[in-house]
């Protein structure tokens, strides 16, 4: 039955798309990124045609119907056992990225997964989620996903592939010439299937490759300890942290856990409290660097020399450590002395971490220093790695490419990862792929690899299929589907099982039987299985802690050698905060999420320090060509204060050519100059200015606070002397109103407190809000016009310190959303009373009353209101509509909108409380979307009338202040002032 449907929908789709692809209109539409559509919306007709085409081409009619999976899956306690229409379920599942799993809780409305939350029971999630995870639900409903199997570029169907596979697997013999290529695997069941496959085909090889890897981290462990280890940093245990080019609060770790732990040590409630100290040595300004008490900008290639000198200063590993050359200016020496002193003063309570970009030696040095300072077992612990040896992925893929080139590979099975796009440029993977007689690609979208493969098969999204995954410490979780595969995709395990003739063929059986077997004991197993599904964590799967020791000699050998040349420019390849390695390129939410530091959307750019830009004679928006290793690319210049001089950072994952409408041709492809010998950074780039300029869509163009007390900041010492500094920062007369204030002393009075001291500006809240409140994307052109719609935005200000404030500023981030002012200026001026105050102190917005004069927005001092200048939601395809939150109106063109404190969540809990016959809602029972997902727990929401509530207590702190209070707007959202804990030896004049 299902199969028949597949055929029909599939054939129909391709037939029409095929004929479409010949109409010119469709072509140039294809060559335009979706955002251009937003501006294209100006042209109603072309837009309508487009819709007709899409509607005709996609057999999506049935998709909005409820597609609850047929297998038995169990709702989390927070859902209800029996389905009530309109009542959401919450299922636990796991999200896999970069070879590690992260436990999630997914809200399912009427059979549609609509919202991602972190799983509080999962040790690496603890209830929070990252922007990638929040946005992944949009990827599920991406209308541009691969829909049916294709062979040789022609539409086919699963049955045809099944027949082919059955026949072909018999021909494979011992599997000489059979290769598997996949992301790093962290799925136990897939590993089992892999083992079976390799057992059946002893001649076959399985290669793992990730464009964004922690290879060097692993290699560093291997180098240091002589065995593969998994390092777990306990940031909450450390008083002093030194980050060597490691954005552990941002992109270089799984973000959530480090932030949870790190922020615990910066939660200063009174003048007595202690606070940790963070030193960051990095080339590109990261959120970690923004959080740093001291940040030293340094080319990534100089970090090795820095850590060697630091080790020498610390007298660890003996004085045979030498780095020849490299710059050793006074500032650097001063820093090394100060940091070394600080670290030694905090033996056992400090922590040195190295970033995945840094070579194994640096990681080994970090381990060495940690051990020497007695941090092992305190701030850093180790787990046994699942793998028993570490084979660098680069070697593996090099070998694979060589085999492909040498015609040794007859069958190549690629499980996602889009290697044709992400593989190092010098391997010419795409070209070699053509040489492989039979290539099979299983992918979510029709990407660069799919179009080159003999067979390209639609993969099942993680929200619609069964699998499992383990967290770095081995904690395993089952990935359960919330919905049947929209496009009849299959999982990697299913494909491999099919080729290997594995005992189970369907993903459900593969996963379930694997674990049932592991649990053992029929009834027990069944119970444990149910419990695992329910909790989202499989009991007892975590790895045991180990205490390895270091072999100093090896390290010294590795650390020796010349420092990176300084004459050429360094180019650093960083994963994109939006599209990761390119896999999220077709995700509008992520494309429009501003890069945390430079606020760039819909593009990547070559980040240059002001000095370097001056040296190269380029300005913001100029285009430069970057050449290295005989390859070149062009990119627009974005001047990033705080960027290391002579170092260019460029984000990977852009410039996709085979991609959906959103991500196609967005930005520049940095993989073009990323080779195996310059995989993470390369200090051999030649740069020249080329003609033309390029418009960059930044959501914030002005970086200075203009000396206005918006983000209020002080050093810990100053705070101890002046606990009320934040409140006393602004002098103003008595705030008297013409009329007596409205009485808000009764009932619930909602308020919010945002702790700027822990907020890292990681954007998770922005995406969470977008997902919760059905906020549309507007596209690059509209962002340039200044019409982005985010209800919560992350303001980023540079505060000048030291001798070159514009070259090397400090950064503060401030989440700004509707302040819910008690005397709201917006309300007074609305001519139709569309925005008024609720008895609970919410600044309500009645969309259907709004006529759109925009007067409220003009009169809002915080500029948090967002206007629907065009019909952003017009023409959303049926399948995309499935991600909408049914409890939030989708706003029409011409009306104003803004943050509502997630009023739908407030109402939901009030109804619940009433139904349970409770009189009051418990504190913390209502969580706004931004609060719920914040990895740093910077946002706290609650009833300020309840003196015992967390929010009331926070507002009672001396750091509490309201922005622009001199306007007497009486905002309900207040901030906790930011603190820094500088080392007086490095102290510079601070004018924040």
């Amino acid at each position: 039955m299902i199969q028949i449907q597949t055929k029909q929908s599939g054939k129909q789709y391709w037939r029409s798309l095929d004929q479409l692809s010949h109409t010119g209109e469709f072509k140039d539409w294809l060559h335009r990124e979706f955002p251009a559509n937003a501006s294209e919306m100006l042209d109603g007709t072309s837009r309508r045609n487009l819709l007709k085409l899409m509607a005709a081409s996609m057999g999506l009619a049935g998709l909005t119907a409820c597609r609850r999976p047929v297998e038995k899956i169990l709702p989390n306690v927070r859902g209800v056992e029996d389905y009530i229409p309109g009542k959401p379920f919450f299922y636990s599942t796991v999200f896999t990225q970069g070879g590690t799993g992260m436990g999630l809780l997914v809200e399912v409305n009427d059979g549609r997964p609509t919202k991602i939350e972190g799983n509080p029971d999962h040790p690496y999630s603890l209830g929070a989620a990252t922007g990638y995870q929040q946005a992944s639900v949009l990827g599920l409903y991406d209308p541009d996903r691969a829909r049916i199997p294709m062979t040789g570029g022609n539409p086919s169907e699963w049955k045809a592939f099944d027949d082919f596979a059955k026949d072909h697997s018999t021909k494979l013999g011992t599997g000489e010439g059979l290769r598997f290529l996949s992301d790093r695997i962290c799925s136990p069941s897939l590993l089992a299937v892999k083992a079976a496959a390799l057992a059946k085909y002893p001649g076959a090889k399985w290669v793992e490759y990730n464009a964004v890897t922690h290879d060097e981290t692993a290699a560093g462990g291997q180098l240091a300890f002589g065995q593969p280890v998994i390092t777990r940093h306990k940031f909450d245990k450390a008083d002093v942290i030194l980050s060597l080019d490691d954005d552990f609060l941002g992109l270089d770790a799984n973000t959530v856990l480090p932030q949870k732990e790190f922020s615990r040590r910066r939660r200063v409630t009174s003048a007595k409290d202690e606070m940790n100290r963070l030193y960051v040595i990095e080339s590109q300004y990261s959120v970690t660097g923004a959080m740093a008490d001291h940040r030293l900008r340094m080319r990534s290639s100089d970090v090795k020399g820095f850590v060697a000198d630091l080790a020498a200063e610390l007298k660890v590993g003996g004085n045979e450590l030498q780095i020849v050359g490299g710059n050793r200016d006074a500032k650097r020496t001063k820093w090394i002395k100060a940091i070394a002193k600080d670290l030694t003063e905090h033996k056992g309570k400090c922590l040195v971490v190295a970033g995945p970009r840094q070579p194994a030696a640096v990681h080994a040095m970090a381990h060495l220093i940690n051990q020497a300072l007695g941090n092992v077992g305190e701030t850093v612990v180790f787990f046994k790695s699942a793998a028993d040896t570490v084979r660098p992925q680069l070697d593996a893929i090099k070998e694979l490419a060589a085999d492909m080139a040498g015609g040794k590979v007859s069958t190549l099975v690629m499980l996602g990862g889009n290697p044709a796009y992400t593989a190092p440029a010098d391997l010419e993977f795409a070209a070699n792929l053509k040489k492989v007689p039979l290539s099979i690609y299983l992918g979510l979208e029709v990407d660069e690899t799919a179009v080159l493969s003999k067979w390209s098969l639609p993969e099942a999204h993680y929200l619609e299929s069964w699998s499992d995954a383990t967290a770095p410490d081995g904690t395993a979780s089952v990935q359960q589907p919330m919905i049947q595969p929209l496009y009849f995709g299959r999982t990697a395990a299913e494909l491999v099982a099919q080729l290997a003739g594995y005992k189970d063929q369907r993903a459900y059986d593969i996963v379930r039987n694997y674990w049932i077997a592991k649990f053992g004991g029929k009834d027990e197993a069944e119970k444990t299985w149910r419990k695992s599904l329910h909790d989202g964590v499989i009991p007892g799967a975590a790895q045991a802690e180990i205490k390895p020791t270091i072999d100093v000699k090896k390290i010294n050998g590795a650390i020796q050698g010349a420092a990176a040349a300084t004459d050429a420019l360094e180019v650093v390849f960083v994963q994109s905060a939006s599209v990761y390695d390119g896999r999220f390129a077709n995700n509008g939410w992520l494309q429009e999420a501003p890069e945390p530091m430079n606020k760039l959307t819909w593009d990547n750019a070559a980040l240059l320090s002001p000095a370097t830009a001056k040296k190269l004679g380029v300005a913001q928006g100029d285009v430069i060509s970057i050449e290295r290793a005989g390859r070149g690319m062009q990119a627009p210049v974005l001047i990033q204060p705080g960027q290391a001089d002579d170092s260019i950072s460029i984000a990977l994952g852009y410039g996709r050519v085979e991609c959906g409408r959103v991500g196609k041709n967005v930005g520049e492809n940095a993989y073009r100059i990323r080779t195996t010998d310059g995989f993470r950074f390369a200090a051999d780039a030649r740069v020249r200015k080329v003609a033309g300029t390029y418009p960059l869509a930044q959501t914030q163009e002005h970086g200075s606070m203009e000396g206005r007390p918006l983000v209020r900041e002080a050093n810990l010492e100053e705070f101890r002397k002046e606990p009320k500094f934040a409140q006393e920062m602004v002098e103003h007369g008595p705030l008297v109103a013409l009329y007596p204030d409205h009485d808000y002393s009764k009932g619930y009075q909602w308020g919010m407190s945002i702790d700027l001291n822990v907020c890292s500006g990681c954007n998770a809240c922005v995406i969470a809000c977008q997902s919760e409140n059905n906020i549309p994307i507007v596209g690059k052109d509209q962002v340039i016009k200044g019409r982005e719609m985010h209800w919560i935005r992350m303001d980023r200000y540079y505060s000048g310190t030291g001798e070159h404030p514009d070259e090397d500023p400090q950064v503060v981030t401030q989440p700004v959303t509707c302040m819910q002012c008690e005397t709201a200026p917006c309300e007074n001026v609305c001519p139709v009373a569309a925005t008024t105050h609720s008895p609970e102190g919410l600044n309500d917005m009645a969309y259907n009353r709004c006529v759109g004069t925009r007067y409220c927005s003009n009169n809002c001092p915080y500029k948090v209101r967002r206007f629907n200048f065009l019909a952003w939601n017009y023409g959303t395809e049926e399948v995309q509509k499935m991600h909408y939150n049914p409890n939030v109106t989708v706003r029409m063109r011409g009306v104003m909108e803004k943050c509502t404190y997630c009023v739908q969540r407030i109402q939901e809990k009030k109804i619940l409380a009433k139904r349970e016959g409770r009189r009051l809602i418990k504190d913390g029972e209502i969580q706004t979307a931004c609060q719920q997902t914040c990895p740093a727990d910077a946002i706290v929401f609650g009833n300020i009338n309840d003196a015992e509530s967390r929010v009331a207590k926070l507002k009672g702190q001396t750091r509490d202040y309201s922005m622009l209070e001199e306007l007497n707007t009486k905002p309900r959202t207040t901030y906790l002032a930011k603190l820094r804990n500088p080392n007086e030896e490095l102290a510079e004049k601070h004018n924040g």
Partner: protein, 186 residues
């Protein structure tokens, strides 16, 4: 006995019209015929308001001012009532934490409503008092009537005036300097 002339019997007479070429002549004639000869049912037609004609032929002052004042007062009160009812009775909304009704922010609207209603009364009240529109009037039967909106000045003595007499009145008017006089029918 039967010496009546049918024409004069069934033809109703409206009055006598006298035409002058200068405004002051009109005023002088009007004053005489009203004050010296005691005619009361008089009217004067002129292309522009002739000064002094009112007391000359005894036209009382206009009562329009009082009518306008009353409607103005209605506008004033009405506006207050509207704003108070809308904000403090019909649909109470907390807006910017302000009271449901306050006088200060209401002043502009109160003022505008007062002016608007007053203006309506000033215009339509004037038309009413002038019994306009009135597309026919006996004086229009006078051949020279069109001149009245150009450069002629007419003095009209109505037949209903107790002192009215076709012959004497015409003669009197001519003696007062009328260029010509004519009897107009109703």
């Amino acid at each position: 006995m039967e010496t009546t002339t049918p024409q004069t019997v069934d033809k109703a007479i409206y009055g006598v019209v006298a035409e002058f070429d200068l405004p002051e002549k009109l005023v002088a004639a009007g004053r005489k015929i009203h004050h010296d000869y005691g005619y009361t049912k008089l009217d004067a037609l002129s292309p522009f308001p002739v000064h002094g004609i009112d007391d000359a032929i005894g036209v009382p002052r206009s009562i329009l001012g009082y009518m306008v004042f009353c409607t103005g007062a209605v506008g004033f009160a009405g506006a207050i009532a509207l704003i108070y009812y809308a904000g403090a009775i019909s649909y109470k909304l907390v807006i910017g934490g302000k009271p449901f009704f306050a006088f200060e922010p209401s002043i502009p609207i109160i003022f505008e409503c007062t002016v608007l209603l007053s203006a309506f009364m000033a215009v339509f009240g004037m038309f009413g008092l002038n019994k306009l529109p009135q597309l026919y009037h006996p004086t229009m039967n006078y051949a020279g009537f069109p001149g009245v909106t150009n450069d002629r000045f007419l003095l009209v003595v109505e037949a209903t005036d107790p002192k009215f007499d076709i012959v004497d009145t015409q003669r009197l008017l001519e003696s007062l300097g009328a260029k010509k006089t004519e009897v107009v029918e109703a």
